[in-house]
Amino acid sequence: WVCHTPIRLRELIRTIRTARTQAEEREMIQKECAAIRSSFREEDNTYRCRNVAKLLYMHMLGYPAHFGQLECLKLIASQKFTDKRIGYLGAMLLLDERQDVHLLMTNCIKNDLNHSTQYVQGLALCTLGCMGSSEMCRDLAGEVEKLLKTSNSYLRKKAALCAVHVIRKVPELMEMFLPATKNLLSEKNHGVLHTSVVLLTEMCERSPDMLAHFRKLVPQLVRILKNLIMSGYSPEHDVSGISDPFLQVRILRLLRILGKGDDDSSEAMNDILAQVATNTETSKNVGNAILYETVLTIMDIKSESGLRVLAINILGRFLLNNDKNIRYVALTSLLKTVQTDHNAVQRHRSTIVDCLKDLDVSIKRRAMELSFALVNGNNIRGMMKELLYFLDSCDPEFKADCASGVFLAAEKYAPSKRWHIDTIMRVLTTAGSYVRDDSVPNLIQLITNSVEMHAYTVQRLYKALLDDISQQPLVQVASWCIGEYGDLLISGQCEEEEPIQVTEDEVLDVLEGLLVSNLSSPVTRGYSLTAIMKLSTRFSSVNRIKKVVSIYGSSIDVELQQRAVEYNGNDLLDLLGGNDVPVIPTTMPTKPASAGGELLDLLGDLSLGIPPMTAYNKNGLKIDFTFERANPNPNVAVITIHASNSTEADMTDFVFQAAVPKTFQLQLLSPSSNVVPALNQGTVTQVIRVLNQQKLRMRIKLTYIHKGSAVQDLAEVNNFPPQSWQ
């Protein structure tokens, strides 16, 4: 007979920490788990507590501990306080409402809620309030309600938060707690006060009736808050000279909810809000936390304009604070109020613009968003200077959004056409590679409409090409312009600046250079070939142009080949006829573009013969599949999904998932983005690779956020073209 007293908890921790490798640790853990398992099997009561505690430690290290779940229940049922303490801790860590055994706790908790020792009652309330399932809450709500009425403040405060959890899980039970809330706010005990305010907040948020009912508490809440501010130093609740900041913040929050949309309530709290706003110490985070909550409340209720200005000014001061965190919340809040209190926020514009230079990425992003929100007809020149400077130097993750923002602002407020073109030029030359694909057709449209600027535009773009042909959007727009206005370019008609001297051959040299350059994407090559074609109607060097075309008639690039072939010969002029519609491909050059024109139908499908298909088309979200065979393994089908959105709102947080039957293997690569822009302004693409030799079937799952709601849909895709899997 060997006496095997289970090793003590701290001893085990010490031992495990001596392991030098993951393997060594795993071995120790496995050994101990085996010992614990056999101890559990022997139904050892003495050391159950110690063993479960050890199990919890190992669980935290990442090892499985499910075999201890039932043991936790046994500990909870024990009469020893240590057992209960560890048992409840174990339940909170190892059991959750998904486990069936979870419900076995209900009876124990019920008994413990009525225990003679308040610390046992406390354990039960804590556990129930932390992880009680809906069924448990339903069964035990009555007990919680009883404890909410006790005079024992230790229990009352816990019961209040437990009630909050019950209401969250089973909202219909809210009514039963109403009577108990009657005199909650008359409590002197801060713990009870705090938790009561939390409970009242929860009820008011969930039920308009409750909200209306509790409005009468506003004067009482105002009084409590006033006492907190006016009372002298209270050592028990003091934090850096402020009395119970946690309670102050919760009261301010409840006042916000009660005052929103209600004139009388808002008026009743006006004075106290002004008082808190002006008297709170701002040297430490704790004071600023209260001020922040106060500002949020002022902005949400029906405050006097003076109070609102006071709130915005507080945010303005926050922006100058050395503490980054304070600057961050200021920018977040200002972003929320910039529409409603535009003028007040405008006054802090220069401080906001300074934040563009901040080192913190989150602060920079907010400052950028806020800056764009503040741009108007009066400040456009100054603001754009700052934003373009920001665009030059910011991290790549900002460039796309910033460029889009600049284009939008320029379109709305450009003081002159020339300024507008110059701004676009600046963006294309400094951040050209980050500009969104859909900007290209928009810019082309813009340029088309600025008739008097055509000569100036084509000249500037031409000069830009001489400097740099690596940025595709710039090159595409420039190519298009040259194709369109090449005659203006060579005739030296520019009025805005000194016209350049350039010959037809020089222009064609540049365009041909784009065709051969490694830097040019297939889309760009398409643009430049089209431009060359168009110049055949504007330039006299038609022979040179025809020569270029015939070269590309046998190009390896199928797209160029088709284009060249179609353009050649006499059909040329007919095709280009009156409708000079720019070629507007979407993100994949193999997909036919959305803009019209016979030009594009000719391009057809270029992906080696497998026709594309529409896999999903619902609620404005359309997902097309295009196909290729992978190299070198022809059994792998490479599918590219193209998601587009025809509704008027963006689809954000877009996630595409796919599953295939067991006999297949599936690989999904990263998507191009997770925002599907509204009104078909762009597509999200993602590549799927499927190893298959049988008829392909797929199930797809789409999730996204549209107009504030989360959308999820499942669909089966059965209409794969036979060529995709044969």
Binding site: R8, L9, I13, R14, R17, C49, A53, L56, Y57, M60, G62, K80, T82, R85, L89, D96, E97, R98, T117, Y119, G122, C126, G129, M131, K157, L161, H190, G191, H194, T195, V198, E205, R206, E236, H237, P245, V249, A289, Y292, E293, L296, K324, N325, I326, V329, L359, D360, V361, S362, Q657, A659, V660, P661, K662, T663, L666, L668, P671, R699, A710
Partner: protein
């Protein structure tokens, strides 16, 4: 038909759990607009020292969230602010010596007061252990949980007086010793975990 369904579900689940390159497999969901959803304590090496979850999630989901969040927070530079957006939550974190304290709060919550909540918890640990260090929390993790559970309940502060929280813990500790004293099995030995 059965064969197909089995294969289908497996294919789906495998894909689902296997970790797509894109990453985001789940969103935790908004419960109300003010709630702390979880609190994590971890070391600079990414070792978890405490995990308190106030929303129901599977072990697998908790592990994934923990892994991702730990990685994200550890990648932050010292000069950055204490807040970051992560999925649809706000993360408030602060480093005390070698430990990161990390809370996930919801959209409408006040980040600045959450920093105070974290600070209060650290003060409580400090008072209890007497100049607390990471080792105290490693070797006495269950006590760290007990203290947290006397301070917060369901993600909200239940007691705003430092003194009262510490008093409750003290009383509970005494209770543990007293009751166990009465049921001591071996004379002369003090029964401990």
């Amino acid at each position: 038909m059965d064969g197909w369904m089995d294969g289908w579900m497996d294919g789906w689940m495998d894909g689902w759990m296997g970790g797509w390159v894109d990453g985001l497999l789940l969103t935790i969901g908004i419960t109300s607009s003010f709630q702390m959803q979880f609190m994590l304590l971890f070391s600079r090496q990414g070792k978890l020292r405490l995990q308190k979850w106030y929303v129901p999630l599977s072990d697998k989901e908790k592990k994934k969230i923990t892994r991702e969040l730990v990685q994200t927070v550890l990648a932050r530079k010292p000069k950055m602010c204490s807040f970051l957006e992560w999925r649809d939550l706000k993360i408030v974190y602060k480093r005390y010596a070698s430990l990161y304290f990390c809370c996930a709060i919801e959209d409408q919550d006040n980040e600045l007061i959450t920093l105070e909540i974290i600070h209060r918890y650290v003060e409580l640990l400090d008072k209890y252990f007497g100049s607390v260090c990471e080792l105290d929390i490693i070797f006495n993790f269950e006590k760290a949980y007990f203290i947290l559970d006397e301070f917060l309940l369901g993600g909200e502060a239940q007691e705003t007086s430092k003194k009262n929280v510490l008093k409750a813990i003290e009383q509970a500790d005494l209770l543990q010793e007293n009751i166990d004293y009465q049921t001591r099995l071996f004379a002369g030995t003090v029964w401990t975990l």
